[in-house]
Subunit: 467 residues, 2 copies
Amino acid sequence: MRLRILATGLALLLAAPLLGPALSARQTAEVSLIIANGIVITVDGSRRILNPGSVAINGTQIVAIDTPAAIRARYRSADTIDAAGKVVMPGLINTHTHAAMVMFRGLGNDLALMDWLTKYIFPAEAKTVSPEFVRVGTRLALLEMIQSGTTTYADMYYFEEEVARVTKAAGVRGVLGQTVIEFPAPDARTPADALKRTEAFAKEFAQDDLITPSIAPHAVYTLDAATLTATSDLAKRLNIPIQIHLAETAAEISQSQQRHKQRPVALLDSLKFWAPITIGAHGVWINPEEIALLKQRNVGISNNPESNMKLASGTAPVVAYRQAGVNVGLGTDGAASNNDLDMFEAMRQAAFQQKLVTMDPRVISAPEALELATIGGARVLGQQTRIGSLETGKRADVIIVGMSRARQTPMFDPVSQVVYVSRGDDVETTIVNGKVLMRDRKVLTLDEAGVLREARAAADLVRKAVQ
Amino acid sequence: MRLRILATGLALLLAAPLLGPALSARQTAEVSLIIANGIVITVDGSRRILNPGSVAINGTQIVAIDTPAAIRARYRSADTIDAAGKVVMPGLINTHTHAAMVMFRGLGNDLALMDWLTKYIFPAEAKTVSPEFVRVGTRLALLEMIQSGTTTYADMYYFEEEVARVTKAAGVRGVLGQTVIEFPAPDARTPADALKRTEAFAKEFAQDDLITPSIAPHAVYTLDAATLTATSDLAKRLNIPIQIHLAETAAEISQSQQRHKQRPVALLDSLKFWAPITIGAHGVWINPEEIALLKQRNVGISNNPESNMKLASGTAPVVAYRQAGVNVGLGTDGAASNNDLDMFEAMRQAAFQQKLVTMDPRVISAPEALELATIGGARVLGQQTRIGSLETGKRADVIIVGMSRARQTPMFDPVSQVVYVSRGDDVETTIVNGKVLMRDRKVLTLDEAGVLREARAAADLVRKAVQ
């Protein structure tokens, strides 16, 4: 006993020079990052806002959210970001895009959808889409996403293993869907080839902390019933999410009825298509019976207001979805039909479009729009226990948004400022999985000038393709 | 004779050191400013784009637009702005706003219109609006406008002589409408008082190069027929434009029918209300017969897509107006119902809203949206011979817009980039009447920090007013 006491005393004596200078350090825990003194919009279940508030992050996780004084009393860090006067909020979740299509941004606007696709997008894709082109385009998209506060995105494109590699390198979270389509695609001559690609891709990134592999059967008008079933079977076997364009346009409904003798939702239901996580992109032309069925089958919907307006596709019944308890998130769609990846605009447009169409200015309020872009999106992707809000134990996907510009002055309500007057460019710092990807507008995981230079060079291929 | 020749020879000899180094200077004209090497979008009658192009400005006017080489050959200037890779375009024209209402930005969003007005806006206005409050608010609005490339705006508010003074000091062009309303207003107990104010204001700023005084009878539901006629008579006598809220909401139509037994347009026509320049703000609930009448009476319409969506007012028949030859411009409306003054967003929203409602993605194309925000607005304000496009002889109201961000990459079509992916924040330089108001994002005619500080202080008055 005496020996143990002595040993303890000796240990304390030896430790003294370390503990000495900061007695309070004995009561605080060292964490990897503290975001201090911000206006913390948590988007948690009680819509808690701490003004001011601080967030303690350790490793990949949020370990505490509290008043600045309480965080100071409990945590210390070698790295503290002062967010005084700025909004600290969950990173935005883009539930539907085609990232590499930033390379076709603004190519042939203001055309009827089929003209646009057949004269511009399909020829451009046929002649340009290669692994290298996808890497260049996806890096450009990731740069834009990091700069505008998107921390998770759901992708649907080709060469998805390339998308996954550059996404992981950039430090962004992705649910990345390998496309399956009946036409010869840049990365697969047949749907069977695409299924093989999906399986290899899913195995390569199984258990990855950032990348969730996914399968993306394109739509019911570009796939036969057998292939739809095969994609669903593979998704269930590999336990990966399905992404599908669902009831985007009126034309899709009539094409589905001609080809399959059923509307899209009925067809997919009859095929027992739905996986544990299924993301229906757009969900515009959906009737009340279908809404009830989507709820029952736990299908999430990605609302893409800007694309739906720009392409004149229609308006998704977002208010009805929410009333029915269907999970709804927001997406930008590809930049070719938007024309950017700014989720702040998606929030604003979701609110505007729903207010206009319902003729009720109260629907999709600012807090609701913010939920759609954060926790709503997390639910659609099946990741609501990991991301989508600032809560202890969740992954540290956090953005800091400046609030000092003339157009943001004065501030009566921070959530209103986020949704109605802020843009991606106001995001100053972007953190994913506890790692700072952009700090004070400096992107740390991508070479900004290099990404832009490569994209401009690759754009020449596109110009030649549509000449 | 010999003496004269000798004198001339002597003069040439003395001048030689000056002329010597630049012989070409003898063939070029000195101008006050050259904008060189940009992507010049003129918005002229032939939609000419010079890529690259240069613009020579002398004093208040554009003196030439041509290739960089041609401008270099003909003009020199002590002040040249290099616009390589950037868009050079006409300044944007906001045809309807309530500038000082930036002070109520984000105050009580997402409410039914009457709740919002009666619970927030009217009480706040009653307790805060003073000459000083209007100066502070208008300066904040002007800062935001200069920063986002608006060079001309049409205002409707109180203490309009104060608005005019700070607008002139900031160097912005304005068509400034003194409000006439039947309720006691912050600056006039009765409509008769407001008419007197208007006359004094109009005389103070008659012949001003930047300020066009105007009268703003609020709407047909807030004025009786006699007062509407009195405002019209005054406008005609003083030869100033009329601005009026026109058919903004369905409620306005039914209120007009109850009060006046006529729809707004029919009532105003029966009163011979229209002046040579009349600006109808919103023009949402307008039928085809009314469109034909507005064309006949040369009434211009200010389309405010964001406000109309956010307040769920409806959709103005912009496509039908344009087909009928009615002049249409764009406006932001007050920031309280928008929530900013960014005319780039107004362009994008105008295109989106019309495509959605007509279900035709071809309508209000990017070039058409740009025209609405520039030459279209100039026509609505009756200033199409002075502003609204880059043409020789027009006033030099010019903006330079950066195009190098990730979200603007790649660029296939500069007009598409302006409308669909650019924002006010991309404007780097703003020039009005030949004077540089902002250069490389530094505002030169307002003290940015001071304007923001004063606005934040004044916001406390607003907070107290709505407690």
